[in-house]
């Protein structure tokens, strides 16, 4: 677009835009908390913006033009409305929500699924700028499809090969502003030198003036780097986007307000004025700030700090003083003066009359300093990167130390938030509650079910968790206090609601997402049928019979964290029902017609006890009733009510009379128990209108049995559920131990172990029969068995969880001992065999894993490396770009050596390097194992080269080196294991509410060195495992 053309259009759209602006904001309330007459200031600022010649677009998100998902460009730009992308990436049903924006009366847009987009902007080679308010949701970051570590906020084109983008680094909460460069270069850009805390509004501006790229946070220059090159325009079919971008760039859950785009480079004064329109700085102060900016550009943070510091006393408003205090402390912190920084931060965060933005940022900064997540861990300020050149690709590989620091930071923030919240109760809230509420809500009254007089401290208040959400709603809606009670002033009402709503995140450990506070559970089913394995095992335990091929249910797909026990993907088709009917008929027949004396199953015992002799005439029904009631109780895993037994008995009578056969009647009614949804489904039913409920002891028993046995509870567990003892943590721990020691815990190894490691019995991939004649179905089963036994063993014996990676033994039988060439007496059956050296031991050396990560005819370092990254380290690896040629390793002329050198050449392509530089070395370290998991020193008479080096310089020499590298990354490995365990136990994808269970488990592992079984106990005792969220029924 030429500039004259644009201005022409601008003038045409102008009149309409101005009148539209007036219309939109006519209903602004006069009295606004904190901001006074802000609205007028802001409106006049708006008018100033609209008259700027360099304005390209202005979006306020206030209007929806009567069209869902369309926002007008108030600058009047033609055909530049923002629209919800039609690219249905995560689903278009609820692409965004409107949320309260920067001011209580104003909307902003929340984006976490689809981007908003418009036609691309032509960027002037003279420079450009953007300005926006945004808020993100820390751990609510939605992992992108590929890289977990960046979340897009704005992007023109992809911002990688052309255009520009602004993104949020998920781990550090720093912002990155990049200009794309044509292949094979990387983008150039700048990272903010301070973090942006979650859940608070932050102003961000970015500029490029042909000389340097700068990023401003909350009106102050945060960082800048020189760049005098060209700007690479995007193609006309590209888009300008806000929010999720896809294409491997990740996504963030963000809210955006007040977006302005300019085709000139704003100066620092402009940026400050846009960020804080009701504050003005004198000419003198502006000049001093320019000096500070120059220091920042030269990374002279202490000098900048001193300048800001010297200005504080000259400022007119408390808001401005707090802002400069904050900025001073940030510069001190980056410059290494933590004490000076802390001193000022303490002042700022206790100040009541400043905006949330300032206070929250100060809080985040101070906690970061307390925890040592200070200047030296700002990811872009390390010594070897004096230019602050952003290499987002490199950063996408997680840095373990940094992760750990961030984890600690999060924990401290939680503790700190909780302390502040509790002390606020003691000082501000409790007096109000006592004065206004306790009069009615006391021990003697029946108003609600809460006695507020018992909440005598912030600490007790914290234990009431989600009660405060309910209370906040009622107080906010003026339902409480009622009209005839002591009145509550508006200011106090606001104070109360605000405190209730600010309940700290630490309390999440005691709650689940609800309709009100999270969209997490929307359209997520929780009632599910038994999966194939659970069905088979439940039949085994109830009836003591195996199932024939035709009565096995079909296999199941996976969801959530990758396990096949997720309600969303457990569908019930006609072929399932066919199978259920047939399985019930055949199995019940088998137990009744061919009673075997060693069948100790529940049903066999029951029949033996009740039908030792033909029941006497007239006593027949009573015997059948007892059989049906007991059988149903076990099969349905809960007490069975009278009317339910009566129904079964009625069925018995009908069939018995019609067929004139006692046995026929009994068989059909027993079948009914097994075809009933009470057996086939894990039914956890709603008991009252609350969203979150504690499970009954029987439901808890069922969850435990499904997790530990992939089956139903046994008599002992049912007994403890019936007596309520299972609710006692000590009993629960004892039961976990008992159940793991029971042979049925093999089900855990199968359902969790094999799935976690990606050993799929249905995989179509089998080693090539001509090259590997040694491979057989028998060996495949042996591998699988080894996997199951090993994983189960670590949990059963309460071994350190990391032993899954680093064990000095294997489980082997004679087949396996031979295959692995174990130096041992030939074991006759399965047994634990001690090994020395690093050839065997740990999941990476399992035959099942090594085969599953090989092609039919050859090993694949890439697949193996990918496996280590995905399964053990929890890092996702994107698909290769479709344009990148792979290596044809099957061509006859390719030998092992040439393959490796080709792969190395392949990795030197920057597109491939990002992933392969980590993936390949991990895989090469396993090259001593062939495609069916045998150890080899040579391949085709050439010694195997299993040396490799990770990008951070870690040398990997063979499996031992790999183990060492994993020990280095122990934290990541353990976190991944805990995530998988929890995801499996809950049968769903984890959300932020589950995060603190993960955190707590990690902490226990670090501090108390708990074993694998105790880890499971922690999970069983956790809130999400013991509670359930219910959707409102229809």
């Amino acid at each position: 677009m030429t500039s004259s053309g644009k201005y022409g259009l601008l003038i045409v759209g102008f009149v309409a835009a101005l009148s539209a602006a007036t219309y939109y904001y006519r209903s602004i309330p006069n009295e606004l908390p904190l901001y006074g007459t802000y609205s007028e200031q802001w409106l006049s600022n708006r008018e100033k913006l609209l008259t700027r010649k360099d304005l390209v677009a202005l979006y306020t998100f206030q209007d929806q033009s009567g069209q869902q998902g369309v926002f007008a460009d108030l600058s009047g730009g033609w055909n530049t409305k923002l629209k919800v992308s039609e690219e249905n990436f995560f689903g278009a049903e609820r692409p965004f929500d409107m949320v309260e924006g920067r001011w209580p009366w104003k909307n902003a847009v929340a984006l976490d699924q689809l981007p908003l987009e418009r036609s691309p902007i032509q960027v002037s080679q003279a420079g450009f700028s953007f300005s926006l308010w945004f808020r993100h949701h820390g751990s609510g970051m939605r992992p992108g499809p590929n890289l977990d570590y960046t979340g897009n906020i704005l992007a023109l084109g992809d911002g990688v090969w052309s255009g520009w983008k602004l993104s949020l680094m998920a781990r550090s909460n720093a912002l990155v502003f990049e200009l794309g460069q044509p292949k094979p270069q990387y983008p150039v850009g700048v990272a903010s030198a301070s973090r942006v805390p979650p859940r608070t509004w932050t102003h961000v501006a970015g500029t490029w003036d042909r000389n340097k790229i700068s990023i401003y946070i909350n009106g102050f220059l945060s960082n800048s780097v020189p760049y005098q090159g060209e700007f690479f325009q995007v193609e006309s079919f590209n888009k300008f986007r806000i929010g999720f971008v896809g294409n491997g760039l990740g996504s963030a859950s963000i809210e955006v307000d007040e977006l302005v785009l300019f085709d000139s480079s704003l100066n620092a004064e402009d940026v400050f004025a846009i960020a804080w329109p009701n504050e003005s700085l004198s000419e003198d102060i502006n000049q001093r700030m320019q000096l500070a900016d120059r220091h920042i550009a030269d990374a002279q943070w202490l000098q900048a700090a001193e300048i800001y510091d010297s200005l504080i006393d000259q400022l007119s408003s408390s808001q401005l003083r707090a802002l400069f205090q904050l900025r001073t402390s940030q510069c001190f912190a980056i410059g290494g003066e933590s004490d000076a920084a802390m001193q000022r931060l303490t002042i700022v965060q206790d100040q009541a009359d400043v905006s949330d933005t300032i206070r929250d940022t100060a809080k985040a900064e101070s906690l970061a300093i307390l925890e040592g997540v200070g200047p030296d861990t700002y990811p872009f300020k390390s010594d070897d990167e004096p230019q602050n050149r952003v290499d987002a690709h490199r950063l996408s590989v997680p840095v373990p130390q940094y992760d750990r620091a961030m984890d600690q930071f999060t924990q401290y923030r939680n503790v700190r938030d909780a302390t502040v919240w509790m002390s606020r109760f003691d000082h501000d809230i409790m007096p109000l509650v006592n004065q206004i509420c306790v009069g009615c809500h006391d021990a003697s009254s029946t108003n609600g079910d809460i006695d507020l007089s018992t909440i005598a401290s912030g600490e007790i208040a914290g234990k009431h968790g989600s009660f405060w959400d309910l209370a906040a709603r009622r107080v906010e809606k003026r339902e409480m206090p009622p009209a005839d009670a002591t009145p509550l002033s508006d200011a106090d009402r606001q104070k109360l609601v605000r405190w209730m709503r600010n309940r700290p995140r630490a309390a999440f450990c005691e709650e689940l997402a609800t309709e009100d506070n999270k969209r997490t559970y929307h359209s997520q089913a929780s009632t599910r049928r038994l999966n194939r394995l659970e069905f088979i095992n439940a039949y085994r335990d109830l009836l003591g019979v195996g199932l024939s091929e035709d009565t096995l249910p079909p296999s199941d797909g996976a969801g959530g964290e990758g396990f096949d026990n997720v309600a969303d993907v457990l569908f019930t088709s006609t072929s399932h029902m066919d199978t259920y009917l047939k399985a019930a008929a055949e199995s019940i027949d088998a137990v009744i017609d061919y009673p075997v004396s060693d069948n100790r199953s529940i049903l066999a015992n029951l029949l033996r006890d009740e039908l030792k002799t033909q029941p006497a005439q007239g006593h027949e029904l009573a015997a059948v009733e007892r059989i049906l009631a007991t059988f149903a109780r076990h099969a349905w895993r809960r007490p069975v009510e009278g009317p339910e037994v009566a129904k079964l008995l009625e069925l018995f009578s009908i069939v018995r009379n019609e067929s004139e056969s006692f046995q026929e009647g009994l068989e059909v009614s027993l079948q009914a128990v097994l075809v009933s949804p009470n057996f086939l489904f894990v039914v956890e039913s709603e008991r009252d209108e609350m969203n979150v409920q504690r499970l009954t002891a029987h439901e808890l028993a069922t969850r435990m049995a499904l997790t530990l046995w992939a089956s139903i509870p046994d008599q002992e567990l049912m007994r403890l559920a019936a007596s309520g003892q299972l609710n006692d943590p000590q009993t629960l721990r004892q039961q976990t131990k008992r159940m793991l020691e029971d042979p049925r815990s093999r089900g855990f190894g199968e359902a969790f172990g094999a799935r976690w490691l990606g050993i799929d019995e249905n995989s179509e991939r089998v080693p090539d029969a001509t090259m590997f004649p040694e491979f057989s179905d028998d060996l495949k089963q042996t591998f699988r068995e080894e996997t199951i036994r090993f994983v189960t063993h670590v949990f059963r014996e309460n071994r350190p969880p990391f032993e899954l990676i680093d064990a000095d033994y294997v489980w082997a039988n004679d087949t396996l001992a031979e295959h692995y060439q174990l130096q041992t007496d030939r074991p006759s059956g399965w047994q634990l065999v001690k090994v020395t050296g690093s050839q065997r031991g740990g999941v990476m050396t399992l035959g099942s894993v090594l085969t599953a990560t090989s092609y039919a005819a050859r090993t694949s370092p890439v697949l193996r490396g990918k496996w280590v990254m995905e399964r053990l380290l929890g890092t996702s690896v994107p698909q290769p770009p479709p344009t990148v040629p792979s290596i044809d390793q099957s061509a006859p002329e390719v030998t092992a050596t040439t393959f490796r050198s080709r792969l190395e050449r392949h990795r030197s392509d920057p597109q491939c390097m990002v992933c392969h530089q980590t993936m390949d070395p991990l895989g090469f370290a396993l090259e001593n194992y062939d495609a069916i998991g045998r150890w080899r020193d040579n391949e085709n008479d050439v010694p195997v080269d299993s040396q490799a080096e990770l990008p951070d310089g870690t040398k990997l020499a063979g499996p031992e080196g790999l183990k060492k590298a994993l020990i280095e990354r122990r934290g990541e490995v353990e976190r991944q294991l805990v995530r998988k365990l929890l995801g499996y136990s809950l049968g769903k994808a984890l959300d932020e509410y589950d995060q603190c269970v993960v955190d707590r488990c990690i902490k226990k592992m670090e501090e108390e060195k708990i074993g694998a079984r105790e880890l499971l106990e922690e999970i069983f005792l956790s809130f999400p495992f013991q509670h359930r969220y219910f959707h409102k029924g229809t």
Partner: protein, 442 residues
Amino acid sequence: MPSLPINRRRMLQGCGVALGLPYLESLARASQASPDTAKPPVRAAFLHFPNGIWEADWNPIGIGKNYQLSKTLAPLRDVKDDVLVCTGLGKPHSDGGDGHYSKTANFLTGMTVKKTSGKDISAGGISVDQLMAKASLGKVLVPSLVLGVYPVETGIDRSVGYTRAYGYYVSWQSAGRPITPEIRPSVVYETLFGGAGRHNRSSQNRHLLDYVLEDANSVRAKLGRQDQHKMDEYLDSVRSIEYRLEYLKQNRQRDQIQNAQRVGESYKVGPVHDFRDHIDIMLDLVALAFQTDTTRVCSMMMAGGSSNQSFSFLDGVDEEHHTLSHHENNPRKISQYQKINQWYVERYAKFVAKLRSIKEGEGTLLDNCMILFGSGMSDGNRHDPFNLPILLAGKARHRMETGRHLAAPGGSAPLCNLYVSMLDKFGIATKSFGDSTAPLFD
């Protein structure tokens, strides 16, 4: 039915609203109409093969009647007059989605496959075969036959963020409810032809189902909204079994059922282990089901959506299917890839020839069929969802002109345009389906 009738009726009325398929109502309507009209019914099968094709060897030469078969299509030479080769059809809604999942699961819906690791799984709409199955209710014993040869694979493809289950479903009862394919020939056989055996116990089975339906409804009432959908799946599956029992009872004397029972006595299925036998036996069963009018609609996945089946039984093929489909324009891989494509075409040609060898009325069974064969992508190397390989055999009761190469008008059209035409020939008048813009042919 001697007892429980009142409960049942009430229950059926109660849940009729919530349930998708009013099986019993349609059955009642059908039994009032006169059975077995003179005209044989139209049958439709949808066969999906994985991993796309090498286009240069697939595309036929010339358009219309006088086209020449390409190298990969050569196995069609004996049935050329009965086959319609379609080119230029595509699935625009697959564009942009990753990997095989977004190209496979919507083969018969044409709509967008939702990117998800499980939550809110969706193929965008009902699949064309299921729409036809609905229309077959009350007319045949088994309204919908959904077949496969591989069990659903578990796990999530972390690289692209889709649950692997997507690679194993092409039939969708609704956007969010896939139908699990039956892969065991013995079970398929039992469902289709085991009527006689089952009939002995049908009255007891009825009581059992009555009990279970009532039970399920009381469980359903105690559940939250989302979980009720799960129970609806259960109820639907119980009712489809009930439908079969009822159908057998009402149509016991009809030739349709008598023939099926004769087949049941004469044809036996044992366990299969070989991939090739598995496909052949499944297709045999489809032919028998069509011949006896036991089913009129069938979908079959000839392998998983990104199948890595080994084809080492073919000369010169030494790598797996999916690996080869990423041929990178390497002639050595392409030649192997092409051989696998051709092998699948051979299976299809054989099946078509078999249907043609079966007499029906004045003509052949094939004359009354529409047998679609295709893949959800064209070039497997690029996962290209345009210019899909699509073949259609049979004359739909002489209402469809075969023996020609039909290129989409203007070079490209949605695959759903073909489905609209097929729905029309099947007797379902509709202006649109999925993302169709117009019928592909009249």
